[in-house]
Amino acid sequence: MSREASPVSAGSSGTATTNRLAATAATEQERQRRRRIASILRNRNLMLGAGILLVLVVVGLLAPHLSPYDPINPDYATTLLSPSLSHPFGTDNFGRDIFTRVLYGIRIDLRVGVISVIPPFIIGLLLGSLAAYFGGVADTIVMRMVDVVQAFPFLVLVIAIVAILGPGLNNMYIAVAVTAWIVYARLIRGEILVEKQKEYVVAAQAMGGTNRRIIWHHLLPNTIVSSVVYSMADIALYILLAAGLSFLGLGAKPPSPEWGEMITEGQTFITTAWWMSALPGLAIIITGIALSLLGDGLSDVLRPGTR
């Protein structure tokens, strides 16, 4: 009995201590979590950027309910009207309400930006971490590939690839995946080269952790932040790229309400209807600013002390 009692009592007192410890740990964790949330809420760039983007997404999704006009079908009774209360951004040469088209354009441009960034992010992360972790031949091969892709002006290589595969935004995703991964590969390689010298990685290796486990569970979580921050600015870049390709006739095709396509259609009417090009451009700028604010904010919150 005594043998039983003592462990129980020891156990119970032990549990109590553990509980107390756990409780303080929990409150400490809770406090840290609150501090973190507070720092996120206090970050003006982050909140402003996220706020604008949230509004854009909601407005884009609700576009059919927010506007009585059709974004695609022409209405020849209302061609080339200058901005007014009923048409805040004016109308185009087909009589379509430009504000409505800009709202529907959010769906295209924001989606294109976000989709574009995913493949180069993953490829870059993979190749960059392999190159940095294993070094030697792997590193040489990856970095020489980076050198070569870097030797092309980004836009020229994208155009060449789109030219070969055929115009359209889907082929733009492929072109971006092939060309833009180098940025992420370089970023993550640089970070891992530093990180893998640290003691906890050496310890994990000494404990016999597999390479995959060390890269996946130890190195990537600690090095991925700068790539995530960078990808925000990259989304803006790809929105610009999609717009540019549409302008060159290699991206979205009319009557798509893609913003770049709208600016392009307006170029024919610059002497009579400035609003056709001018106002869709503002949509691109606002989205871009929101994304850079979000990126700056994320960088403040996720990497304190680096700025």
């Binding site: 836009l155 155009i159 070969i164 600016i263 001018a278 850079s292």
Partner: protein, 313 residues
């Protein structure tokens, strides 16, 4: 290592990159879905014609043999014949190059003229209204589509104020420059804020150094301190940045030439994409990247002259 050896080593380092670039450009044509010969012939693709073109292009040979032929032709500056214009690609690109290089040169000059005074003023009058405007403008210009700002400049400066021609290319060298002002200004709008910020940072850094305190305590005039001591050191990072940006400029030229209807290399690339003129697409892509490689080399060499501390190791 001497400067001569350093330059030689940079030249040797270029070789694998150049080879890689030719491999990518060579591969491009083989990525054409289906038969490249049939794709190039388009409507005229009869079985006979396709077979003849396949043979002429060497498409019936193994890939490495084709690549070897491609390299040999490059060394002989034989870039093939344009399908659309029916003239050698090399002479076609030569004509267009003049326009693009003039645009790039004009932009570099204009950007320097804009950035230098603004960067200096922003640094000397830190936290003033001008400084704040200059710094926050970068946020907007970074996300501004260049063709949009080009169209806006046309609306304001050409159509409203009649200051510059709307588009096109001149009839004599002076007229050419007149036609390049607006395109160059458009690219500068994107480029100048980046340079101004770099200049501002490096001037502020230089102002805090001991040798500036020494120069001031010697009783030198502030003008002399700024122009001789501060600028000389502060110019190094922006000059390098300008060099690096030339690559970005070349890419941007593709769109800007389209906005202003300039008959340059970029416009040629887009026209050949529309016409599926693959030999021109291939060569234009190659030339653009060779130019970037050469400009980067020139920047590195220039840097070694500007900053004597550069180690050639």
């Amino acid at each position: 290592m001497s400067r001569g050896q350093y330059i030689l080593r940079r030249l040797v380092q270029m070789i694998p990159v150049l080879l890689g670039v030719t491999i990518i450009v060579f591969t491009l044509v083989h990525l054409i879905p289906g038969d490249p010969a049939a794709a190039m012939l388009g409507d005229k693709a009869t079985i006979d014609n396709v077979a003849r073109l396949r043979q002429a292009m060497g498409l019936d040979k193994p890939l490495y043999v084709q690549y070897f032929y491609y390299l040999r032709n490059l060394f002989e500056l034989n870039l093939g014949t344009s399908i659309l214009y029916r003239i050698p690609v090399a002479s076609l690109i030569g004509q267009r190059m003049v326009v693009t290089l003039s645009l790039v040169a004009c932009t570099a000059v204009l950007t320097t003229i804009i950035s230098l005074p603004l960067g200096i003023l922003a640094a000397l009058k830190k936290d003033s209204l001008l400084d704040n405007i200059v710094r926050s403008s970068l946020m907007v210009t970074m996300v501004m589509p260049s063709f949009w700002s080009g169209i806006m400049l046309i609306i304001i400066l050409s159509i409203q104020l009649h200051l510059t021609p709307v588009s096109g290319w001149g009839t004599n060298p002076l007229d050419d420059i007149y036609h390049l002002i607006l395109p160059a200004l458009t690219i500068s709008l994107g480029l100048a804020p980046i340079l101004i910020r770099s200049l501002r940072t490096s001037i502020l850094e230089a102002l805090g150094t001991d040798y500036i305190k020494t120069a001031r305590s010697k009783g030198l005039q502030e003008r002399v301190v700024i122009s001789v001591h501060v600028l000389r050191n502060a110019l190094i990072p922006p000059v390098t940045l300008l060099g690096v940006s030339i690559g970005f400029l070349m890419g941007g030229a593709v769109i800007i030439e389209r906005v202003f209807a300039l008959p340059g290399e970029g416009a040629l690339l887009i026209d050949s994409v529309t016409a599926r003129d693959y030999p021109v697409i291939q060569s234009a892509t190659l030339i653009f990247s060779v130019l970037v490689i050469l400009v980067n080399l020139a920047t590195d060499i220039l840097y070694s002259f500007l900053d004597p501390r550069v180690r050639f190791g």
